[in-house]
């Protein structure tokens, strides 16, 4: 859950990721030597979890691109972030310092 006490994390900069056309996104997880596949909505959120975008900006980014309502987009964001946390694919914003480029 994203809250003031538990702010939005950012993607782990050690994990390479790439969107493929409109099909989704591949994320390489070196620590597990595996590749995770995200669907287009997940890929959009993951790309925006860069420590620069706020929760509202991500929600509106999803609403604009995928034509879902705000309530649904926010709920999806929270559920998705929980999944990413469980898989160790994000770090808390304060722990992430290394700059990275958008892909």
């Amino acid at each position: 859950m994203v809250s003031e006490q538990n702010p939005l994390p950012r993607r782990d900069s050690t994990m390479a990721f790439r969107s493929v056309a409109d099909e989704g996104c591949l994320v390489v997880v070196p620590s597990r030597a595996t590749v995770e596949v995200l669907n287009p909505v997940g890929g959009k959120i993951y790309a925006m979890l860069d420590g620069k975008h706020t929760e509202d900006e991500i929600v509106h980014g999803v609403m604009e691109e995928f034509e879902v309502g705000e309530e649904q987009a926010r709920r999806d964001l929270h559920e998705f972030v929980s999944q990413l946390r469980a898989k160790g694919m994000v770090v808390t914003a304060s722990a992430a310092e290394a700059p990275e480029q958008n892909r």
Binding site: V20, L26, P30, A33, V37, V41, R75, F80, K87, A98
Partner: protein
């Protein structure tokens, strides 16, 4: 949860994405030969240094930046022996800093030193691929020509295991190690790692056919593809097509799923098909060249044509590992079915015929 969110984190759509990338010629991998220097003297090596000046480290950084801007996901550092580059660790760190996943191809010699492996661990590579040429020092070193290299390579694998780094092993099959493939497999098992045997020895990149003299004999290859393949590959059947074939529209991924950059900065369609597309140091944008280069477009078209010709063979279409690069180097025609691939095709076909008679697949055979 909305339909969109339901399947965001899962694994099954992987092949769909890969097929789409293949169809659109979106390269996800880049193999960079950062130097031709090597601490081994393998007689079957395909490298052909031209004597030109290799890229400086700064130039390699420039190349990496352009590769990252192109959107590549995986960078493989290779050589020669990649670790022989004096700035290997700086280069590898730059790959990671740019947000790309790192693979390392190596002979393992320098990784017998635990300090080296600790530094590799810090780079969080996805995997390290090590070449193992024999089950004994005599055989391994008969090919590498470096005394003590067998013990160091085995030690390297143990060190990488201990550090928790994924290791893949590969073994090019030659006349000098064909007699002990099962012992090599047993050694790999003891080391807890899967080993890929490669029955294709290629000419040197400059067309020198000398390495072919080390090629395993035809009688051996028939047994390898037929009786022994499944046992050596954990029950897998021999492949009927090229190992990097993806969506079935082309023979392989040359000029499509990845590309290679040589130590001089030349952009090539793949490691085996070495037609120069451009020099990365002389261009600003790889993507534009990749999309519009007549060389790249011709290579992609040739791979589609090769697939069409192989499919047209019908019952004879068991051309395992047909490689346009080998065909061009060896015969001058990238679409010619060169002798080794015909031998392999006959053997693989016979293997499948035997399996049909037995009423199962190689995988069934193993589980039974």
């Amino acid at each position: 949860m909305s339909e969109g969110a339901e399947s965001r984190v899962h694994e099954t759509p992987y092949s769909r994405l890969m097929n789409r990338a293949f169809a659109d010629a979106v390269p996800l991998t880049c193999q960079i030969e950062i130097t031709y220097r090597c601490n081994h003297l393998c007689t079957f090596c395909y490298n052909s240094p031209s004597g030109e000046r290799e890229m400086t480290t700064e130039q390699i950084f420039d190349v990496l930046r352009k590769v990252a801007e192109f959107g590549v996901l995986y960078v493989t550092l290779t050589g020669g022996e990649a670790l022989c580059h004096k700035h290997f660790f700086k280069i590898a760190a730059e790959v990671r800093r740019l947000g790309m996943a790192l693979r390392i191809y190596s002979n393992g010699y320098l990784m017998a030193d635990k300090k080296v492996v600790r530094r590799i661990k810090e780079l969080t590579p996805v995997e390290v691929e090590i070449s193992l040429h024999g089950a004994t020092a005599e055989t391994h070193e008969g090919l590498t020509k470096i005394k003590g290299s067998f013990a160091k390579t085995v030690k390297a694998i143990e060190n990488l295991n201990e550090a928790g780094i994924k290791v893949n092993l590969k073994c090019p099959i030659t006349r000098l190690n064909q007699h002990e493939l099962f012992e090599i497999k047993a050694l790999a098992n003891r080391l807890g790692r899967y080993i890929i045997f490669d029955a294709v020895i290629t000419p040197k990149d400059d067309g020198d056919l000398d390495p072919l003299s080390l090629r395993a004999g035809d009688d051996f290859l028939e047994k390898y593809w037929g009786e022994w393949y499944a046992e050596l590959h954990d029950g897998q059947s021999p492949p009927r097509g090229n190992h990097c074939e993806s969506d079935g529209s082309a023979n392989c991924g040359t000029g499509r799923s990845g590309f290679t950059i040589d130590p001089y900065g030349n952009l090539l369609p793949c490691v085996a098909f070495r037609r120069k597309i451009a020099n990365v140091l002389e261009i600003d944008d790889i993507e534009h060249v990749w999309r519009h280069s007549p060389v790249a477009n011709e290579v992609r078209a040739l791979s589609v044509e090769a697939k069409r010709r192989i499919d047209a063979l019908g019952e004879e279409s068991y051309l395992t590992g047909f490689c346009l690069g080998v065909a061009e180097t060896q015969t001058g025609d990238p679409l010619a079915f060169y002798p080794q691939v015909k031998v392999n095709a006959r053997a693989v076909r016979r293997s499948y015929e035997l399996l049909q008679i037995r009423g199962g697949s190689a995988n069934d055979r193993k589980s039974a």
